[in-house]
């Protein structure tokens, strides 16, 4: 099993990380050294770091990798020093100016990296990682590997919220808040149905999700039906297909805390998710307060998913398939699966978003690409490696 795990990681690293520029110059010995220092199981955690740097210099406006890193580090340091200066000024009631590094690059590079690519890259990682963690947790909670994070209707709710926002206001802020709120509302209704009808049984919870999901899908159709076909209707359709093209730094600051806190919650209870994945009654007999744990998982996953969906639109496939790929690499144990899903999800959406913004002059919606890229890749993995839940 360890052997397979290693090759799995290495393969992926080999395929995705190395851009042509990096693989020049004595690759073998460096590769060997790295492999000796970093155990193979941990190597996968470097994947998003490498992709993060790659995504910053890669694009329609291609930049030099080393220069990009320099701009990123010095620019970030300058920003921090700026913040430090203003903080000290406020605290000491007089003008304090900390020294800063000289900016040797042009305004366009500054804009491309800090205004355009950085928020987008960070958003892709947050959304991809968040959706994957939420998907993995829900698959455990519902003991079903075919479950995705929107099983309880969060996407349908958020979609309706966004459509309503587009129809009534068009202000991006309003759209996001409305999407987030309706995503949460949809899951709350599903949860209440599950709680009152099924006394907390996960099966009834899923049924509640299906009811709410189809209800909100009907609402989405209704808003589309009444929307202006030349103006708001395309906006709604485009939103529903998912995109990260409009993400700003302010968006990141708004969604990062809920996604990170929700993910941290799921990470902390990762051992208990194992128990739920084994069976509700058995988990209860093994001392898990299943009702409470179900509530924790539903709330944390929903906050993560709703936060992701409200800036990205509906991105299918990631939350369903990334946990599977994680399971192929590290097995079903949620202690490893949760962090690995986060890392893989962040990497996957980063790659997909890189393709979305570079493949053609016009943006390709993410929802289309996640399936176009993910489906063949997943099919390939299925043929290559034995999967536990398919006998």
């Amino acid at each position: 099993m360890n052997r397979g795990e290693e090759t799995g990681c290495e393969d992926e690293g080999g395929v995705v990380i190395n851009p042509p520029q990096m693989s020049t110059g004595g690759g073998v010995s460096i590769g060997e050294t790295i492999r000796r220092i970093i155990p193979a199981g941990k190597a996968i955690y470097l994947l998003p770091v490498a992709l993060f740097i790659f995504s910053l210099f890669f694009g329609r406006y291609m930049m030099d990798p080393v220069e990009t890193l320099r701009i990123l580090i010095i620019g970030s340091a300058n920003t921090l020093l700026d913040w430090g200066s203003s903080l000290l000024s406020i605290l000491s009631d007089q003008q304090v100016i900390l020294p800063s590094f000289e900016q040797t690059w042009g305004a366009s590079e500054q804009t491309v990296i800090f205004r355009i690519r950085l928020p987008r890259v960070v958003a892709a990682m947050l959304v991809g990682g968040g959706l994957s963690i939420a998907g993995a947790s829900f698959q455990g909670l519902f003991r079903n590997p075919l479950v995705s994070p929107d099983i309880l209707g969060v996407s349908a709710g958020a979609g309706f919220g966004a459509a309503l926002g587009i129809l009534l206001s068009g202000n991006p802020m309003v759209i996001q808040v409305s999407a987030f709120v309706f995503g949460i509302v949809a899951v709350s209704v599903a949860y209440c149905i599950g709680r009152t009808v099924g006394r907390g049984s996960t099966l009834v919870l899923v049924l509640g999700g299906i009811i709410v999901g189809s209800l909100f899908s009907a609402f989405i159709s209704l808003t589309k039906y009444v929307a202006d076909p030349y103006d708001t209707l395309p906006a709604i359709v485009f939103w529903l297909m998912g995109s990260l093209s409009a993400v700003s730094n302010a968006d990141i600051i708004a969604i990062a805390p809920p996604i990170l806190i929700g993910s941290l919650c799921l990470f902390l209870v990762r051992w208990r998710i194992n128990l739920l994945a084994v069976g509700e009654e058995e988990a209860r007999a093994l001392g898990v307060d299943t009702k409470w744990m179900t509530m924790v998982l539903v709330i944390a996953s929903t906050v993560v998913t709703a936060s992701a969906v409200c800036i990205s639109g509906i991105i299918g496939w990631v939350g369903l398939v990334v946990p599977h790929i994680g399971r192929m690499l590290v097995g079903p144990d949620f202690r490893k699966l949760i962090p690995v899903s986060a890392v893989l999800g962040a990497s996957f959406l980063l790659i997909v978003d890189d393709i979305a913004r570079t493949l053609s002059a016009a943006e390709i919606p993410l929802g289309i690409l996640t399936a176009l890229v993910g489906a063949p890749f997943f099919a390939y993995l299925l043929t290559r490696k034995k999967v536990g839940w398919i006998s």
Binding site: R272, R284, G287, D333
Partner: protein, 281 residues
């Protein structure tokens, strides 16, 4: 006294009682078999003892404490539960599966420590299934799965072990191996409560037995006193012989040919009535 159930009553809908006014108690190291036909409420009673379902009246006490007042992990530190079957969805290794038995000893946000791994390994050794440790539970046989579940319950370090029909899905060899495992755990001082559909198995391991029928215990006491022809007929509605068999060196329960099955199972004339093509009852 490890377990004491007093005047327990339960109903799912508040109208029809699953069982009513049931009382019994178990001592340390005692093996107790609960008999009764399908759907008579044995599993419900187990869930009440585990505090998964709440009794309507009466009380369950474990080591002198009422389960109704205990938190789930407190119950799980005292009582191990082995379900009838496990429907494995995710291919956890047997070791990881047994490790889950350590959960009541692990705080909510923590993961198992070295000590927990040792206890899990010890449970695997105790049941004699160390060779299964890396095997996925979704790929092992029913008999092996039963042993893994017993090991998991053992990793909880319980004083009471509850088994729900531990032998119902097993072949006759694995049935006996499971029974032997139960007996050796009882010899170590663990109290055992098992539901079973085999009065025969009750003879093999039990010190005491009870028959649940129509919502009450129609018999409760030493296994030999409870498992009688009369009681079994009342419980199951068929005639069952209870005899001492010299060759087996024990009491056995054998149903008499209940409804005139035509093959009859008589020695010497196998298959004489096969022409009719009917083999079942």
């Amino acid at each position: 006294m490890i377990l004491s159930v007093s005047n327990a009553s339960f109903s799912y809908d508040g109208i029809t009682k699953q069982f009513d006014d049931i009382s019994f108690s178990l001592e340390k190291g005692e093996v107790f078999s609960l008999l009764g036909k399908n759907g008579t409420g044995k599993s419900t009673l187990i869930k009440c003892i585990l505090n998964i379902l709440a009794l309507q009246r009466g009380a369950v006490e474990i080591n002198g404490r009422q389960v109704a007042d205990m938190r789930p992990e407190e119950v799980a530190r005292q009582v191990g539960y082995v379900p009838q079957t496990h429907h494995a969805i995710f291919p956890f290794s047997a070791l990881d599966f047994v490790l889950m038995g350590r959960t009541p000893h692990i705080s909510t946000f923590a993961v198992p420590k070295e000590e927990d791994y040792e206890k899990a390994e010890e449970a695997l050794r105790r049941i004699g299934i160390t060779h299964l440790r890396e095997k996925p539970v979704s790929e092992i046989s029913g008999g092996e799965a039963q042993m893994v579940m017993i090991a998991r319950a053992l990793a909880q370090e319980p004083s009471l072990l509850i088994l729900d029909e531990p032998t119902s899905h097993l072949d006759i060899g694995n049935q006996m191996r499971t029974i032997a495992a139960i007996d050796s755990l009882a010899a170590d001082g663990i109290t055992i409560l098992m539901c079973t559909h085999f009065p025969d198995h009750a003879f093999l391991v039990s010190h005491s037995a009870a028959i649940l029928e129509g919502g009450r215990l129609i018999a409760n006491g030493p296994a030999g006193d409870v498992i009688t022809k009369e009681n079994l007929r009342e419980a199951y509605g068929v005639d069952i012989c209870v005899h001492y068999i010299e060759e087996a060196e024990r009491m056995v329960c054998v149903p008499v040919n209940p409804c005139g099955c035509r093959a009859g199972g008589r020695p010497g004339d196998p298959g004489t009535v096969r022409q009719g093509g009917v083999t079942g009852c």
